[in-house]
Symmetry: C2
Subunit: 204 residues, 2 copies
Amino acid sequence: MENRFLPSTENKILAAAKKVFIHKGWSGARMHEIAEEAKINKSLLHYYFRTKEKLFEAVFKYAFNKFVPSIKEALNSDKSLFEKIELIADQYISVLIKNQFIPLFVLHEINRNPERLYELMQQAGVRPEEFFEQIQQEMRKEKIKNIDPRQLIINLLALCVFPIAAKPLLQRVFFENDKRQYRQFLEARKKEIPAFIINSIKSG
Amino acid sequence: MENRFLPSTENKILAAAKKVFIHKGWSGARMHEIAEEAKINKSLLHYYFRTKEKLFEAVFKYAFNKFVPSIKEALNSDKSLFEKIELIADQYISVLIKNQFIPLFVLHEINRNPERLYELMQQAGVRPEEFFEQIQQEMRKEKIKNIDPRQLIINLLALCVFPIAAKPLLQRVFFENDKRQYRQFLEARKKEIPAFIINSIKSG
DNA sequence: GTCTATATTGTGATAGAC
DNA sequence: GTCTATCACAATATAGAC
C-alpha cells in the first residue's frame, strides 16, 4: 500500500517539471535539471513519462487547469455583468499572484501551438462565446453603452495578465525592485481593474 | 566599393537572426536555422558575430530600438495628458502591428534579464518617471480624479501589448482565425484604448 | 522501480584550405 | 570572406544489471 504522505516519485517529477518548464519554457528546460530538482535519477523521467514532450504535456495541462475552475465558476454564476467582472478580476489575479510564471508560459504556448490550446479550452468547457452573449444581453437590459464585447473581455484579460508577465521590469522601474510593494500594487488591482472598466462603461 | 542595393552578408545574417530569435526565443533559436534562413554558411555566423550570445544581443537591441523613438517622441512632446495617451496608444499599436513577435520576445527578455533591459532603457533615455510626474501635475491642474499614475501607465501598456502577445489564441477564439478581422480589431483599439482610459478617469 | 553505462543525435564553435 | 571538416560537449533517450 502506498504512502499517502510522502510524495510518490511520479509526483516529485511532476512538481520539479512544473518548476523548470514554467520558469524556462519548453526549449530552455533541461531533463537533467528536472531530475536534479526532483532529486531522482535522470532515467526515471523517461521511465515515468517516456519523452520530454509527454512530460511537458502533463505540466502544461496542470498549468492550464489552474485557471479553468475559477474562470468557469465566475462565468457560470448567475451574477450581473459588473459583478462578474469584479469576480473574474479578483480570482484571476489571486491565481496569478500565486503562480507568477504561468502567464509567460501560457503566452509562449499560445504562440507555439495555438490550435492545441484552443482544443484544450473546448475540452475544459471554457466558452468565452457565452460570456460574449451575456455582455450583449446585459448591455441591452441595463441600457449601457454598446461596446464590442470582445474589446471588453480582452481588456479585462490584458489588465490582469500583463502586470504579472512583465513584473520583473515593472517592479524595477516603478517600485525600485521592492517585492512587497509590487505585491500590494497587484492586490490593489483586484479592485482597480473592475472600477476602471465599469467607470469607463458607465461614462460612455 | 560595396554594393548599396544587394544586402551585405552581415545584413542578411541580421535579418535572418531577427526572424529566428524573435519567433523562437533565445533557447529555441538554432544557429544552423539562422544560417539556413540567411542562405549562408553556418561558419559565417561566427565569423561576423563570434557567438550566439553576441548575435542575440544585436537582434535584441534592434527590437528594443523599434519602440524607443515613438515612445520618446510621445513622452517628450508638450501635449496634454489625454493627448499623450492618444498619441502613445496610436504609435505603440502601429509599431506592434508591424512587429507582431516583439512583445513576446521582449516579455521573455524581461523575465530572463530584467536588469540589463533596465540599463538599456536608461541608456536610451526612456524615463517613465517623467511621464509619472506629468500625470500627477496634470491631475492637479485639470482637477481630475487622483489615481495612481503607475496604474495608469501599466494599464496603457497592458491594453496595447497583450492583444498582440496573445494574438494567435484571441484571433482563433473571437474571430475564427480571420487575420483581416483581427487586424481591424487592433486598428480600432488605437481609438478604443484612449477612449477607454479617458472615460474611466473622467467618471472618477 | 531504480540505478549505471552508453547510444545517438544535436549544437555551438574552431581550424584551416581556398 | 567563404567554405569543408571536425571538435567538444550537451541533451534526449535506451539497454540492461540489480
